[in-house]
């Protein structure tokens, strides 16, 4: 009898049919978005398009403006100038996973998911919450979210972002507190979003993730967008030594 046995568990997935919509052109277009905090320029005027199928990595040193750009793309933060444009007709749904967990600590994971599902006007919030608890391996008991590990909290953060079946998934350093298995799970989910015609934009400091999952790279330095191109272009660009 083996000491360790690997048990394969069939995991529910984000069905490609669920929430599939036909969106043409750029999913999100940021035009000259700027963010100032008083005299401090957090983000210099930046323009960037998020295209269907993109796995866009935002990289740059700490304080470069990555989280600010993601928060503005998520419409969680108002830009000081500039605008976010969406395609005419069907407006893409955006899921946002901020760096710091964004849910209620005194509710259980299920209660959080049910609440946000109802706020997202998701039909049958109870069933959907149960599905995401199973999908992301989250505990479904009376424990409060505050009692969960950092990794579980981060996965709940992701689950909340996925509730509305987003066309664009914005991830702010999403794997920082996840173990390798959980990281793999996260990227599986991200791949499912892209697979149904959506896009993933993620801020990262992890070069391995950049190489494995990104199709496009944008480099921010000191609040300024200094590079935006394919992964291949990034390899030959001088901005590639941003972490050097």
């Amino acid at each position: 009898m083996p000491l360790l046995a690997l048990r394969r568990v069939s995991r529910p997935s984000l069905s490609p049919c669920q929430g599939r919509r036909t969106l043409t052109g750029s999913l999100l277009s940021a035009r000259g978005i700027t963010k100032r905090y008083g005299r401090v320029l957090a983000l210099a005027p930046a323009s960037i398009d998020v295209e269907p199928g993109d796995a866009l990595a935002l990289i740059g040193p700490n304080g470069a403006g990555k989280s600010t750009l993601l928060s503005i793309l998520a419409r969680a933060l108002q830009p000081s100038a500039g605008s976010i444009e969406t395609p005419a007709g069907a407006v893409p749904r955006v899921g946002w996973v901020p760096q710091r967990p964004s849910h209620y600590q005194r509710l259980s994971p299920r209660e959080n998911l049910e609440l946000f599902a109802r706020l997202e006007l998701v039909p049958d919030a109870k069933t959907v919450a149960g599905r995401f608890l199973a999908l992301l391996d989250l505990p479904d008991d009376d424990r409060l979210t505050a009692e969960l590990s950092a990794g579980n909290q981060q996965r709940l953060n992701l689950a909340v972002a996925l509730l509305a079946q987003p066309d664009v998934l914005l991830l702010d350093e999403p794997t920082a507190s996840l173990d390798p298995r959980q990281r793999r799970l996260l990227w599986e989910v991200a791949a499912q979003v892209r697979g149904r015609g959506g896009a993933v934009v993620f801020a990262t400091q992890n070069l391995e993730e950049l190489e494995r999952f990104a199709t496009r790279v944008a480099v921010l330095v000191g609040g300024e967008l200094v590079f935006d191109g394919s992964l291949a272009e990034f390899h030959t660009a001088p901005e590639a030594d941003v972490f050097a």
Binding site: V94, R100, S102, H103, L107, E111, L115, F116, L144, V160
Partner: protein, 449 residues
């Protein structure tokens, strides 16, 4: 409205998971209400007054034949003011540094003028400017009124003694001079004897006329006691301490208990609730189109309203049950409960909106709770100052819900015709809720900017 209801349900669920917090939120304001009520009662009813006796009043003062036990009179005054005997220099010093609220001086010659009954002796009242001076003046006027009333009684008794002398005859003293009086009764007998024994018809006729006058005068003077009392006290106040509610159950305490509970619970709860949304980093997520910022403000105000109604009804029920058990009359706790609930809603909304504004300004939950407490406390105390003490405080307190809530609760529970007060105070509370709510909504922009 759906999003407001969802957020409200979430907040109530969160609140239910903190039973210790919930219990302390209920118990603390009640204890505080009782303590402040007691302080207000005694602070407003018994100002400290320095008593300077330059005339060295005797233990017993005789005025118009009536003896006054001076220490007993002063003890009686002590029920409404704390009279502290001291020398004039010390009294002046304590008045100037605020240790006493006023100074009453009995000038030299006071007792002799009083005994002489020829001119009114004067007491001198010194008060500080502003502060409680108006209140103290009212208290002292009440004291002088009380002394005058007692002196009037003495004067009336002395005057009636003279009347008795005129009617019945006997020996008396006036301004130090002794005298004997025949009296109307004896005069009548003497006139009857003259009428009976005289042979002169003219004398007999005059004696009859005089006898008629004596009878009429005797009758008239017999009614002089009531006339004198009626002239001295056209309106008499009969104090019946058994007829009203006991102080513990008084409308004033109940209204203060309700308003104090709401002032602290609603302001702290709303401030902490809105700030904790930011602490939990969810405002950005909610503001992405899930919840309008004004709905978020409305949800917190509604949370305060729910807490206000729940706690307010419990407090009202406790007071009502105590009033029923102890058979206290003078109020209408049960029929007026629906009116009270309306007031709880209005006051809860006003306090809640103010709390949300505090929470938005403070931004972080712990800071919000501390700031809410620090802000609520002086505003409550402003509202507790008795009318006529500090005029500026009264006007400032009008800009906050506490005083309006107290007036609303008192009127709703015990006024015979409460409607004018209710409409006025409801308008104030509603207006304040809108103003604070709008300011909080404006402040919320900082959370997503």
């Amino acid at each position: 409205m759906r999003t407001v209801a969802l957020l409200l349900a979430k907040d109530l669920r969160t609140l239910r998971r903190s039973p210790v917090l919930l219990a302390s939120l209920v118990v603390y304001p009640l204890v505080f209400a009782a303590l402040v009520g007691a302080v207000v009662r005694y602070a407003s009813d018994r100002p400290a007054i320095a008593f300077v006796d330059l005339d060295r009043l005797p233990e017993t003062l005789t005025v118009g034949g009536q003896s006054f036990d001076v220490p007993a009179v002063l003890d009686q005054v002590n029920e409404s003011a704390e009279l502290v005997p001291m020398e004039e220099d010390e009294a002046d010093r304590k008045l100037s540094n605020g240790e006493v609220d006023a100074e009453i001086v009995v000038p030299r010659g006071f007792a002799s003028r009083l005994r002489g009954m020829a001119e009114s002796p004067q007491l001198v009242l010194k008060t500080a400017r502003g502060g409680f001076s108006t209140r103290v003046e009212q208290q002292t006027q009440a004291l002088v009124y009380e002394l005058n009333r007692r002196l009037q009684d003495a004067y009336i008794k002395a005057n009636l003694e003279y009347v008795r002398l005129i009617v019945d005859g006997g020996s008396g003293t006036f301004l130090g001079n002794d005298f004997d009086v025949v009296g109307l009764a004896r005069a009548g007998e003497m006139l009857a004897e003259i009428e009976r024994t005289t042979s002169d018809p003219t004398v007999a006729e005059r004696a009859r006329e005089l006898s008629t006058f004596v009878r009429q005068a005797t009758l008239a003077l017999g009614a002089s006691g009531d006339s004198l009392r009626a002239t001295a006290n056209p309106i008499e106040l009969e104090v019946d301490t058994e007829a009203g509610r006991s102080w513990l159950l008084s409308a004033q305490l109940q209204a203060y208990a309700l308003a104090l509970t709401l002032a602290f619970i609603c302001v702290l709860l709303a401030a902490a609730a809105i700030a904790s949304e930011r602490d939990e980093n969810v405002i950005g997520r909610l503001a992405r189109g899930l919840v309008r910022l004004r709905d978020l403000v409305a949800a917190k105000v509604l949370l305060a309203v729910v807490a206000a109604v729940a706690l307010g009804v419990v407090i009202a029920l406790v007071f009502g049950i105590l009033a029923s058990v102890f058979d206290v009359t003078g109020g209408e706790p049960w029929p007026r409960l629906p009116l009270l609930v309306l007031g709880l809603v209005a006051a809860g909304a006003a306090f809640g909106a103010f709390g949300v504004l505090v929470g938005v300004i403070a931004r972080e939950a712990r800071t919000a709770v501390l700031v809410a407490f620090l802000v609520a406390l002086p505003l409550v105390l402003l509202g507790l100052l008795p009318a006529g003490t500090v005029e500026a405080a009264r006007w400032i307190s009008k800009a906050f819900p506490f005083a309006h809530a107290v007036d609303f609760f008192q009127a709703s529970l015990y006024d015979n015709d409460p409607w004018a007060t209710l409409w006025r105070q409801a308008a104030w509370l509603g207006g304040l809720a809108l103003v604070f709510g709008a300011a909080a909504r404006l402040g919320m922009r900082r959370f997503v900017a």
